[in-house]
């Protein structure tokens, strides 16, 4: 990038590493930061540094946290008989938003994805099995994404966990609220029919 001063070129280059940020957006962000007050730019830099230094993985559930174990694992008010298994830490927020789940979590760190070289060994499955050994957990809710990878992970986990005497359930998959049946494809509709329940 010969058109930019070296420090700006470096800033643009670093910003380009962020997901969804290309050359143009990186340039826009870099110029925005340069136009911002020194305090504002330094506060952003400090926030990134602080987060990188203080945030780590929870040794129990693998969620990202600044205290180990994390707030979910140490909260005595949470139901210890249920564990919700998710792919990534940000999936916990989606479940928490419902305000209807009060159990614990387990973050797998991804899903079975052979095209990305991710097999069972690359996921945090052993630590999940360890958590079941004291017999306190009665139900595992598998909340992996409703994609091919997420479904494969759910079935793989269910085969592994059911023999341990724990109830294994899968979150509902099908028609999203507010959409129209007319536009649902065959697989989505089939999933919705399979997952129907009494009302």
């Amino acid at each position: 990038m010969p058109d930019f001063a070296a420090p700006i070129a470096r800033l643009i280059d670093e910003l380009k590493h962020l997901p969804g940020i290309g050359q143009k957006t990186a340039q826009r962000l870099a110029y925005h930061l340069l136009r911002a007050s020194p305090e504002g730019a330094l506060a952003l830099a400090e926030a990134i540094r602080n987060a990188k230094e203080k945030i780590r993985e929870c040794s129990v559930c693998n969620n990202i946290t600044d205290t180990d174990p994390c707030l979910y694992c140490t909260n005595p008010a949470r139901n210890r008989k249920t564990i919700c298994v998710v792919e990534e830490p940000n999936n916990i927020l989606a479940v928490e938003k419902t305000r209807h789940y009060s159990g614990l979590y387990h973050v797998l760190g991804g899903a079975l994805a052979p095209l990305q070289g991710v097999g069972p060994e690359q996921l945090k499955i052993k630590s999940l099995i360890e958590r079941l050994k004291n017999g306190a957990v009665e139900e595992i809710i598998i909340a992996t994404n409703p994609t091919a990878e997420g479904e494969a992970t759910a079935v793989y986990l269910s085969k592994l966990l059911k023999p341990l005497g724990v109830r294994v359930t899968r979150i509902g998959v099908g028609i999203p609220v507010g959409s129209d049946l007319e536009f649902a494809d065959e697989v989505t509709m089939l999933k919705a029919m399979e997952g129907r329940r009494d009302i």
């Binding site: 994805a113 095209l115 494969a152 507010g178 959409s179 494809d185 697989v187 989505t188």
Partner: protein
């Protein structure tokens, strides 16, 4: 910028931006293409399950001359392999054929044979739940369609016809060699493996699947074909390590 319509198979997709997907697909009429499906990761996406790997779909897209990526407008499901991929081993098999197809086919070059091969193999994996033989069939045919398969009946060095002994192969050397001409470190293909290779090239996969094949010759062919493919694409296949581990645990 006219809207194009084609039959296609989804090879793989990656998350893009906030809620979009970058999709690699094999179009029957246009060849391998990459395109953007806007909003495909959102819950109310109009694409639904159509962009899942190996989905056989009808696709409508815009192609612009100055852009590498096409814009995917709409998809309609013809056949889904999502249920097959619920099984890890079957999903792994489908991932292998998807990765190999994406690696060996150049963009914008239609290949009806590769399209049919992909569907036949995915169908066989779906029906049987087995991956070793369908993959041996797929990999060997991919090598054949790529023009990298040496003659299977005589030694590339001395020209002697192969008999009842095994033959030797290496992706670094052209052709198969007999026991007298072989070099150290070459991979052995047993007589059974050679017979299977010849039959794969002349018979339908359905017919071959009716027979009970021992795992050794099937795995030999898979290993040899994947060696040749990796040699041609000049990189290791991501799925190969997981595949070999899976095949090993089943033998």
């Amino acid at each position: 910028m006219p809207l194009k319509e084609s039959e296609a198979i989804i090879l793989r997709s990656y998350p893009l931006g906030e809620g979009d997907r970058l999709v690699s697909f094999l179009s029957r009429s246009t060849g391998r293409l990459r395109g953007v499906a806007r909003g495909a990761r959102r819950p109310k996406s109009r694409f639904g399950s159509t962009l899942e790997p190996l989905s056989h779909i009808r696709i409508w897209f815009y192609e612009r001359e100055t852009r590498d990526l096409v814009r995917i407008n709409q998809c309609e499901l013809i056949r889904s392999f999502l249920a097959t991929q619920r099984d890890y081993a079957a999903g792994l098999g489908l991932a292998v054929i998807s990765e190999v197809t994406e690696a060996v086919l150049p963009e914008h070059e239609p290949s009806d044979a590769a399209f049919r091969l992909l569907l036949v193999t995915a169908g066989a994996i779906e029906r049987s739940g087995q991956i070793a033989l369908p993959l041996a069939y797929f990999n060997l045919w991919t090598v054949r369609l790529g023009g990298w398969l040496p003659p299977l009946d005589h030694c590339a060095s001395c020209g002697i016809e192969f008999g009842v002994e095994g033959v030797f192969a290496s992706p670094m050397r052209p052709g198969l060699l007999c026991n007298n001409c072989r070099h150290p470190g070459m991979r052995v293909i047993s007589p059974r493996g050679l017979t299977l290779a010849r039959r794969i090239l002349t018979e339908k996969l359905e017919r071959l699947a009716e027979e009970d094949w021992p795992s050794a010759p099937v795995n030999e062919l898979n290993a040899y074909s994947l060696d040749l493919i990796e040699h041609q694409i000049e990189r290791k296949l991501t799925t190969r390590r997981l595949l070999e581990k899976n095949l090993e645990s089943n033998t």
